[in-house]
């Protein structure tokens, strides 16, 4: 199965989401009941930022070296973008309801900010992954 440059760039986004889920999400899952001070989070946020910058720099540099041709964004790409982002928008609306639900659930004690970060990060990763997988699926099948 050979992927076009556009499809590889989407695959890079999917791998990034999975990597964030595997590398950084467990920290927040284990510390859901923790009330973080701002200083506690600076280290983790710096790690995520450095990881993201390094990951995308290396991944796109490798992509540019392996695929010299320029990505042509045409009407088919626009249509696929529209469909994928429409799905993403619907998922964000559902995620917002899930987030509000997690804040007001009566049986639980109030969420600490560790729990809030965990819920938000999980939802963002899930939405981003689903949107990108759908986008890749459309590129392969349309």
């Amino acid at each position: 199965m050979s992927l076009s440059k556009k499809e590889w760039s989407i695959a890079i986004e999917i791998v990034y989401s999975i990597a964030i889920a595997l590398v950084f999400l467990p920290f927040f899952v284990h510390n859901q009941a923790t009330s973080f001070e701002r200083a506690d989070l600076i280290g983790t946020l710096t790690e995520i930022t450095v990881f993201s910058v390094l990951y995308f720099s290396i991944a796109y540099a490798v992509l540019e070296l392996s695929h010299r041709s320029k990505i042509t964004d045409d009407e088919r790409c626009d249509m696929i973008h529209s469909k994928a982002y429409k799905l993403g928008y619907i998922l964000y609306e559902i995620a917002l309801l899930v987030f509000i639900g997690s804040l007001i659930r009566p049986a639980q004690a109030a969420l600490q900010n560790g729990g809030v970060i965990c819920v938000v990060l999980s939802l963002l990763i899930a939405i981003s992954t689903i949107k990108s997988v759908y986008q890749l699926y459309l590129h392969r099948t349309l």
Binding site: S4, K6, T72, D74, E75, C77, M79, H139, L142
Partner: protein, 65 residues
């Protein structure tokens, strides 16, 4: 009724590759592949550009079956 086309037949007659035709009409090779496989229905503008590049009339290039 499904929209079909003769893009592949006319393109190969003219010895254009999918890449060539894509460049001439300003779209990617993947878009030409999708059109030839009837997966993607091009806009009127793109359909007219393809017809122009292949020297064919629109009604000969795109048809309902």
């Amino acid at each position: 009724m499904a929209l079909k086309n003769n893009v592949k037949a006319l393109r190969t007659e003219l010895n254009y590759t999918q890449e060539d035709l894509g460049k001439r009409v300003g779209v990617s090779r993947q878009t030409i592949i999708s059109i030839e496989r009837y997966r993607y229905k091009p806009s009127l503008e793109l359909a007219m550009k393809i017809a122009h590049e292949l020297g064919a009339k629109m009604e000969a290039l795109f048809y309902f079956e």
